[in-house]
């Protein structure tokens, strides 16, 4: 049971308000790209430069972020960890937020930026990983949950081109 229901737009607005450099990946990126799939968490790849990590920490504090911990401990993300390549699976007041140093294929923010598109969302505009790169990433990961949506992503890409 999710104690903090997802509020995707509010989470994205908090990150934008703190001027965090990030790229939306995963299910929300697929939806923004036009794929009819569902997800309950927001996945982002952040720029791991120290200045950006400082801004990210500010956003995460604003969002009351802590690690999703099955034992109930309250563990807060720290700057030194966020400068690494690992995955930080957080729960915020806007629902689950996965902050990823790198994704499949070892690609981080700088490598993914050319493959992202800027999507307007009302008052803000955010970088979102393009469908082509998203498909490649999910194909490389090759997990059951990724394979399940690959057909939808590929067909969405085809339909966009027609």
């Amino acid at each position: 049971m999710l104690r903090q229901p997802p509020k995707f737009r509010e989470a994205l607005e908090a990150l934008a308000r703190h001027r965090v450099d990030f790229i939306v990946v995963g299910g929300v990126a697929a939806v923004l790209g036009g794929a009819p799939i569902s997800t309950f968490d927001l996945d982002i790849v952040h720029d791991r430069a120290s200045a950006n990590v400082a801004r990210l920490l500010g956003a995460l504090a604003d969002l009351d972020a802590r690690y999703r911990d099955l034992t109930g401990r309250v563990l807060r993300p720290e700057g030194s960890a966020l400068q690494g390549e690992g995955h930080h699976l957080l729960l915020t007041r806007c629902g689950p937020l996965d902050v990823l140093g790198r994704i499949a294929g070892g690609r981080g923010y700088q490598e993914l930026l050319p493959e992202s598109v800027i999507q307007p969302l009302g008052e803000i505009a955010i970088h979102v990983l393009g469908l082509e790169a998203l498909i490649r990433s999910k194909a490389e990961t090759n997990r059951d949950k990724d394979r399940a949506v690959l057909a939808i992503l590929r067909r969405t890409l085809e339909e966009r081109g027609t």
Binding site: L2, R9, V31, L32, P36, S38, P120, E159, R160
Partner: protein, 63 residues
């Protein structure tokens, strides 16, 4: 008659190879990014609302 028409329509909407509903994709592509995010938000809100409204009940053994 109408059921065969419905079935034919469904076959056109859903690809025979991968089972993907193309009509849903075209509908999503007709929306703006903000509207697509609102669709996702509406879906998650609905699921969580239903989850809270319908707590799991035990099915008696032998039922």
């Amino acid at each position: 008659m109408s059921s065969s028409l419905d079935a034919s329509s469904e076959m056109r909407a859903i690809d025979a190879d991968d089972g993907v509903d193309v009509t849903l994709i075209r509908w999503m592509l007709s929306l703006s990014p903000a509207e697509r995010l609102a669709v996702l938000q509406g879906f998650t809100d609905s699921v969580l609302e239903l989850t809270h409204a319908s707590p799991t009940t035990e099915v008696p053994r032998g039922a």
